[in-house]
């Protein structure tokens, strides 16, 4: 099982949950599996070519997948994945 941390802007897709569990041997498989249990999540994370959007970072444990092997980054049981989008609020 892989623990996935869901950021506030995407919690509407996970019934308000900040953490969900899923499976997958790579980030790509994990995103596909997450999309099966939470339909629409993949569209929020990836562009039309299936690439992770440039204002969303995904971390395996504490490492950014852009500096590993991107969506092909391997995952193992017990890994923690965090989804961290850019946020802009300050004055609001």
């Amino acid at each position: 099982m892989i623990k996935v941390r869901i950021p506030t802007p995407l919690r509407s897709m996970t019934g308000g949950k900040g953490e969900v569990e899923s499976t997958g041997g790579t980030i790509q498989e994990l995103i596909d599996n997450l999309d099966s249990s939470h339909p629409g999540l993949k569209d929020r994370l990836c562009d039309e070519r299936g690439e992770v959007r440039r204002f969303i970072n995904i971390y395996v444990n504490e490492e950014d997948i852009r500096f590993l092997t991107g969506k092909h980054t391997p995952l193992k049981d017990g890994d923690e994945v965090s989804i961290v989008p850019a946020i802009a609020g300050g004055s609001l």
Partner: protein, 268 residues
């Protein structure tokens, strides 16, 4: 550096007795020039704490006026100030708090036209703006001007914090997020909502990191991103490496001048 007055020694005594600060650190704070972008949710606690700590020169830029709906979190402003420019309201409170502080106010928004002139007057820039366009512009301007930037941002119950100093070999904001989100993919700013206390938490952490940068003490957040979840009460730090393909700070940059970003706050 001129010596501290008796009154200053008394005012700052609780931090001067810290070995990491001392009289020397207090004089460094008095010499420091810090620009605060936005006199809102983040800018308020930043200005109050840096002003109280005796930072000598504070620049405050904000083009907006105080609205009643700001007061839940923008503690630099009071009910009597509704309708007045935020920088004027901030000036009144800061002058009352600490007459030592030299405050420079700019009642305008940050733009491609004014950002370099303003940023160049300061040692350190703290971004508390409310939109991606300003954030990317401020990052790029600080990169070109070689100024350290402390970036804080908030959304609902979540906050992010990073110290950005590519001129010392660390990553820039674009190494973390190369591009702003396209219009339509970010939630409406007003509908998104934010917990007032969250603005305070992140703003105070920005002020903390600013004092550390001025005094050159402790661990800098220059290669980490701090993520705060107020509901879970969890702080996490993740690695923030320098991107060898960064469009701005890599050896072959795509961005070589300031550019406008128009990122609207509309829901798709």
């Amino acid at each position: 550096m001129t010596e501290l007055t008796e009154e200053q020694i008394q005012r700052y005594s609780r931090q001067i007795i810290l070995p990491e600060v001392g009289g020397k650190g207090q004089r460094k704070l008095r010499q420091a020039k810090v620009l605060i972008i936005g006199a809102g949710g983040l800018g308020s606690p930043i200005a109050l704490y840096l002003g109280a700590a005796g930072v000598g020169t504070l620049g405050l830029i904000d083009g907006d006026r105080v609205d009643l709906s700001n007061l839940q979190r923008q503690i630099l402003h009071t009910t009597a100030c509704v309708g007045t420019p935020k920088v004027e309201s901030g000036q009144q409170l800061l002058a009352a708090l600490n007459p030592d502080v030299h405050l420079r106010i700019y009642q305008e928004h940050i733009t491609v036209a004014n950002v370099m002139d303003i940023v160049s007057e300061y040692d350190l820039v703290l971004d508390g703006s409310d939109n991606f366009g300003t954030r990317f512009l401020v990052n790029d301007a600080c990169f070109f001007a070689k100024k350290t930037l402390i970036s804080g941002s908030i959304f609902r119950f979540e906050g992010q914090l990073a110290t950005i100093k590519p001129h010392e070999g660390y990553p820039c904001y674009r190494c973390l997020y190369p591009e702003p989100p396209p219009a339509g993919l970010v939630p409406n700013c007003q509908e998104a909502g934010v917990l007032g206390v969250l603005a305070g938490t992140i703003g105070i952490l920005q002020a903390n990191e600013a004092i550390k940068e001025i005094l050159q003490i402790g661990e800098s957040l220059a290669d980490r991103l701090l993520i705060y979840d107020a509901l879970e009460m969890q702080f996490r730090k993740v690695a923030r490496p320098k991107d060898p393909h960064c469009p701005l700070c890599s050896s072959s940059p795509r961005i070589t001048t300031l550019e406008e970003h128009h990122v609207s706050c509309q829901v798709s």
